[in-house]
């Protein structure tokens, strides 16, 4: 059994603490912190070979994800890193030239961003072709590598650290990568609708504004959190023409809107979203008026899981009623108040998903997910549950 040194234990509990305290404001912060924790875990704990390391990380996965849902960023990052470990070990085992494919894949989004000028569909075809190949290979190759679980630490560790650093950089840049797309999507004098506050979307608009694109933004205030107010303020500071509208006005407004750009909490394997409450509303209205709904989502938001249930309650979490009914109200103990935090938006209502470097249709998400993560890791959350 592998041991985790006490410093790393400490780091992990600190991380859990921070998650619990909601110290991380942006999703990218959580992503980076998770990578950092895993780097520490890999770097400082004792393990002999890749198989053991994978076991180690998997054993810690649920603890790291404590209190978050199964489609959380933490799980996604862990899955991605597990995939990196598998790739690296197979590359070491089978020599450089066979490992080239996974390497390209891993630097997938990077290559894409470098070849930004290229035609989109061309890249897509190429990638998908690569993807199928390597996937088949991976399955074939990794079986012996894992059963004999023998890629020793000495060989694996430096390589792994290198790719982890690369991954870290990639996450850090993901917001910027997405925002570069904005020029292609936001055209002059368009009316754009967004919902609430999202750092990714804010950056998206910021980039477009910095390129002297003129456009007008409508921000839905997202009751009862009213994060839309913050968004509107931030955008107004950038001299973007902003209007705040109530959530209920979305249908009335929709006919005038050219485009909807929103963020999301996570992107499920079927292309559906779990996003801020009110998004479903918005998406239905958009569908009715055939307004395109674009979703900005970094790669770490792609989750290989599906909805646990189609019951809208099961995939949601419910906040304190205090947002709607003040605690000092005398009806506090007698009124039922329901405050859902998220909406599930089915993939057919989503037009385009903008992730680092390119746009994809929601129906293509399952492909991306299978490239990002290894199939064995998709049941990460179930692993510990069965033990207990």
């Amino acid at each position: 059994m592998t041991r985790i040194p006490s410093e790393v234990e400490l780091e992990i509990s600190k991380f859990c603490n921070n998650i619990r305290q909601h110290t991380y404001v942006r999703s990218v912060d959580i992503a980076l912190a998770t990578v950092l924790i895993l780097k520490k875990l890999i770097g400082e704990s004792t393990w002999t070979d890749s198989g053991e390391l994978i076991q180690l990380i998997r054993s810690q996965a649920n603890r790291l994800n404590e209190g978050q849902s199964i489609d959380s960023i933490t799980f996604n990052i862990i899955r991605r890193i597990l995939k990196l470990i598998r790739e690296e070990s197979s590359r070491i085992l089978h020599g450089r030239h066979e490992g080239d494919m996974p390497l390209t894949l891993q630097g997938f989004s990077e290559t894409v961003s470098r070849t930004e000028e290229k035609e989109n569909d061309q890249t897509l075809n190429q990638k998908s072709a690569d993807g199928t190949e390597t996937d088949v290979e991976n399955v074939a190759v990794q079986k012996p590598a894992l059963t004999s679980d023998n890629v020793p630490m000495i060989n694996l560790k430096p390589e792994l650290m290198f790719s982890l650093n690369e991954y870290n950089f990639e996450i850090g840049e993901s917001g910027k990568m997405i925002s570069r797309e904005s020029i292609q999507h936001i055209h002059a004098n368009e009316l754009i609708l967004t919902l609430g506050h999202s750092h990714t979307v804010e950056e998206f608009f910021k980039y477009a504004a910095s390129k002297k694109r003129k456009f007008q933004v409508f921000v839905m205030e997202q009751a009862p959190y009213f994060s839309g107010h913050i968004m509107a303020k931030n955008l107004a500071d950038l001299n973007i023409n902003v209007t705040v509208v109530t959530d209920s006005a979305v249908f009335a407004l929709m006919a005038r809107i050219n485009k909807i750009i929103i963020g999301t909490r996570s992107l499920l394997a079927n292309g559906g979203l779990t996003a801020k409450c009110g998004t479903y509303n918005l998406a239905l209205a958009a569908k009715h008026y055939s307004v395109p709904l674009l979703v900005c989502a970094a790669a770490y938001k792609f989750s290989p899981t599906y909805l646990p249930s189609f019951d809208p309650v099961m995939c949601n979490s419910f906040d304190s009623p205090e947002l709607i009914l003040p605690y000092n109200d005398r009806m506090q103990s007698s009124l039922d108040v329901i405050v859902p935090m998220y909406d599930y938006v089915p993939p057919e209502l989503v037009t385009l998903i903008i992730s680092s470097g390119q746009g994809n249709a929601p129906s293509y998400v399952y492909r991306l997910v299978s490239e990002l993560y290894h199939a064995d890791d998709n049941d990460l959350e179930r692993q510990n549950r069965t033990i207990s």
């Binding site: 006490s6 234990e9 400490l10 509990s13 600190k14 603490n17 619990r20 305290q21 054993s59 810690q60 649920n62 603890r63 404590e66 209190g67 019951d311 309650v313 099961m314 979490s317 419910f318 906040d319 304190s320 009623p321 205090e322 003040p326 605690y327 000092n328 109200d329 005398r330 506090q332 103990s333 039922d336 108040v337 405050v339 510990n384 549950r385 033990i387 207990s388």
Partner: protein
């Protein structure tokens, strides 16, 4: 396994400490608690022990050190904490400090001060130590620091939550208060506790604000009934202040004291008001039920059952290979450790949230015809049969159910069909047979069986007749238990009378407990009466008074007699004596301390001397044969001398001379002289207490007086080589003990040990005396109540110890 390494780099400047005092010091509630074998902090709230919610909050707030101060049930709390995730997973350093003899918050804090744990500012959670909140408390430290920066004399910042409605359901009688504070700086100027009570009693809903306050040019703000979070941030000075002032029992006393002595000590108190966020300090049953429902209704988000269950589950799977070795006990757990382990297993199942706030833990079987209305939590393994209607109910594990609303049901409860249960707490292993109706606010303690078609009145508390007094090394708990049984079984005439005269909640009547009448032919259990002030526990009446002012639901009890309330003077204690009935010759000296609303009542039972100032407290009537007035008078004189000796501390030789002088003045024999001296020595602490109205523990005071003055005197008169005087003294001590079982009797071994150490008593005389007693003791023990038995067992253990110690020598 306790991670001692603290994450020091986390917040470098200072270690954030929180002190939780896990006792409500409410005697009624403690009575109920003692019958559930679980301390309040481990009572389940939606599948988790109450304290987990608090610790979760504290860890969320970044608190690095948690100090739990427990007065009772230390064993349970310790074993829970050791087995829980908190000590295993978190670097947060959790310490458990047992304060067994503490009878008030002040005692606990004095104990902490002696231990010297605390050097920084700390969060103090009093009440029950269990605060439910979804806010982070870390900002309070900064807030207090700011207050100190502005005003370096600030020692404490009290925390409240504004409520705009007095009818708010989170307010109970015992938290009501009025604050007068500076609007800008939040400095506290006046603090009036028990506002409701005050109003009801004095018929004049007014209070006066001292004129000086307006002279300070401050902008005053009065707050009527903010929600008391029972939370404060204290400077370490607070502990020393508590140590310096023995009369500070509660925070209320402390704040009053600090405000009163402001001109002398210059200490100030500030307050902070939360405007948003959910807060609830669970310190009575009403709030316990409210907390359960509020959590189900997600007011405490993110502290909701599914999050906490997840938390527990994951850490369990990581940390403890040992957990798998403990087998689940199949049937009703008898001994405490097993019971605790089952409780730990609660958390192992994930909780699923469903529409209408319905939580399902683990595997449950739910009949199609059952109707879950709203706000229901169902524990793992529970069977819900057909035609069951559930609303606002928490059900523990492995229960079978019927028709329930607004209730909390613990583990292993079986409820048969056609029962109606509303607003009840039903503890572990209760069986309710078919057709029962339980009244509102009933409590069924562990192991009770309610027979067929029984209808219980409101506010009934049923306990199982067989209380397993678990002597797991918890002195206080045993005390509570024995006290309770003593109340039920050894019901002396006077107690019965007092009970009749004072029955308040309508349930207390003098009749013998008829189990079958109450709980049915096939039932098991008897009613627990809560409103009896035990007569022989009168060493700390005011304290007792504060402990019994409110019932377990936190509502104010009707007074036995309405104490006359001459509501003018604030600081001087005006003793108004009201006799409650000549038969009892009971005196209630109620000190109408009006500004504080702190009504203290001293019940002094004295059979012979009914002089109005109640200066001598002699229970001699039952014990001694016929002591004439002269001896009484003489005793009084001796007592006065001793008191003076204690207070003014003259040389002991002088005191002895004085006592010798007294002897010829009154006609007393040598034997009577020694008896009187002994009696007075043990009455002295009470006297000192009565005089100064400070009420620390009687026993502590006894030791104090003994060491300071009376040991040399005893030694002088009761010489080691004098058999007669030694035996007389011991005999007199025993008489005293038997008269005051609660305070002296159960501590006999400690007293004897102390006096033996001080060479007052010689070993051979103790042994001889004991031998002479032995025969009659054994004859007596059969029909004696528990406290008597405890007295004898304590005595026996001491003598045995003495013997074995001798052999070792």
């Amino acid at each position: 396994m306790r991670p001692l390494a603290t994450n020091s780099d986390y917040r470098e400047e200072e270690r954030l400490t929180c002190v939780l005092v896990l006792d409500t010091f409410n005697a009624h509630l403690n009575d109920v608690i003692s019958h559930t074998t679980l301390p309040l902090c481990l009572w389940p709230i939606d599948g988790q022990p109450l304290i987990d919610y608090t610790i979760y909050t504290l860890i969320r707030s970044g608190i690095q050190e948690i100090i739990l101060v427990s007065t009772a049930h230390t064993f349970e709390i310790r074993s829970y904490m050791l087995n829980s995730q908190w000590t295993k997973t978190y670097s947060c350093n959790i310490q458990l400090v047992p304060c067994k003899h503490a009878r008030s918050l002040g005692d606990c804090l004095r104990d902490l001060d002696q231990r010297g744990f605390i050097t920084n500012d700390f969060l103090l959670l009093y009440g029950s130590g269990c605060l439910l909140t979804n806010q982070k408390l870390s900002s309070l430290f900064q807030l207090h620091k700011d207050n100190v920066k502005q005003d370096k004399n600030c020692v404490m910042t009290l925390v409240y939550r504004t409520l705009h409605h007095v009818e708010h359901s989170s307010l109970t009688d015992d938290t009501s208060l009025i604050l007068i504070k500076d609007k800008k700086t939040n400095r506290l100027y006046d603090y009036i506790k028990q506002a409701f009570y005050q109003q009801q009693q004095s018929n004049s809903p007014s209070f006066h604000i001292p004129l000086e306050l307006f002279e300070r040019n401050a902008c005053l703000e009065t707050l009527y009934c903010p929600l008391d979070l029972q939370l404060s941030i204290c400077s370490p000075d607070v502990l020393t202040l508590f140590s310096d002032n023995f009369d500070f029992l509660t925070i209320n006393d402390f704040v009053k004291g600090v405000l009163r002595d402001e001109e002398i000590a210059f200490h100030t108190v500030y307050c902070h008001l939360y405007e948003t966020g959910y807060f609830l300090s669970v310190h009575n049953l009403h709030l316990y039920m409210k907390a359960s429902i509020d959590i189900i209704r997600r007011w405490t988000f993110p502290l909701v059952p599914e999050t906490l269950a997840l938390l527990q589950k994951t850490s369990q799977t990581i940390s403890s290979p040992s957990s798998s070795t403990i087998s689940l006990p199949t049937t009703s757990p008898v001994s405490t450790p097993i019971a605790l382990q089952t409780r730990l297993f609660w958390s192992l199942y994930p909780v699923v949230y469903d529409k209408r706030n319905i939580y399902k833990q683990g595997v449950i079987s739910l009949d199609r015809d059952s109707h879950l209305e709203i706000d229901v939590y169902i524990g793992n393994g529970t069977q819900i049969l057909s035609n069951v209607y559930l609303k606002q109910t928490v059900i523990g594990q492995n229960c079978k159910n019927s028709r329930i609303s607004n209730s909390i049901i613990w583990n292993h409860v079986q409820i048969e069909e056609n029962c109606q249960i509303d607003s009840c707490v039903i503890c572990d292993n209760v069986l309710i047979r078919s057709g029962c109706q339980l009244g509102k606010q009933s409590i069924l303690c562990k192991g009770v069986i309610i027979g067929t078609k029984v209808v219980l009145n409101d506010n009934t508390i049923i306990v199982a007749s067989s209380i397993n007094t678990n002597d797991m090394g918890d002195q206080d708990e045993v005390e509570i238990d024995t006290e309770a049984t003593a109340r039920r079984t050894r019901r002396t005439e006077s107690m019965r009378l007092s009970d009749k005269s004072s029955s308040t909640t309508g349930t207390g009547d003098g009749e013998k407990f008829c189990d079958t009448k109450l709980v049915g032919q096939d039932g098991l259990g008897q009613e627990l009466l809560l409103n009896i002030l035990s007569d022989d526990d009168d060493d700390d009446e005011t304290e007792q008074e504060q402990r019994t002012l409110y019932n377990a639901w936190g509502t104010l009890l009707q007074r036995r007699n309405q104490p006359a309330n001459n509501g003018s003077d604030t600081d001087t204690e005006s003793d108004v004596n009201i006799k409650t009935g000549n038969k009892l010759s009971k005196q209630f000296a109620s000190s109408g301390d009006v500004a504080s609303g702190d009504i203290r009542k001293k019940s002094i039972s004295s059979s012979l001397s009914s002089d109005p100032n109640g200066s001598i407290h002699s229970e001699s009537a039952t014990s001694s044969e016929d002591e004439d007035a002269d001896v009484n008078e003489f005793q009084r004189e001796v007592l006065q001398s001793l008191k003076r000796g204690y207070e003014e501390k003259p040389r002991v030789e002088n005191l002895i001379v004085e006592l010798n002088m007294l002897k010829p003045t009154y006609v007393v024999s040598q034997n009577e002289f020694i008896q009187s001296i002994t009696r007075c020595v043990f009455l002295l602490p009470r006297e000192v207490q009565n005089k100064t109205s400070t009420t620390p523990n009687y026993f502590d005071l006894l030791i104090q007086t003994l060491t300071q003055t009376t040991v040399p005197i005893l030694k002088n008169y009761v010489r080691l080589d004098d058999e007669n005087s030694q035996l007389l003294c011991l005999q007199e001590l025993e008489n005293l003990c038997l008269d005051n079982l609660q305070t002296l009797g159960t501590r006999i071994h400690q007293i004897l040990d102390f006096l033996y150490d001080q060479d007052v008593f010689a070993e051979k005389w103790i042994l001889k005396w004991y031998d002479s007693k032995k025969l009659e003791n054994e004859a007596k023990t059969t029909n004696q109540d528990q406290q008597h038995q405890q007295y004898w067992t304590n005595l026996k253990t001491f003598v045995n110890w003495l013997k074995t110690a001798d052999e070792e020598d």
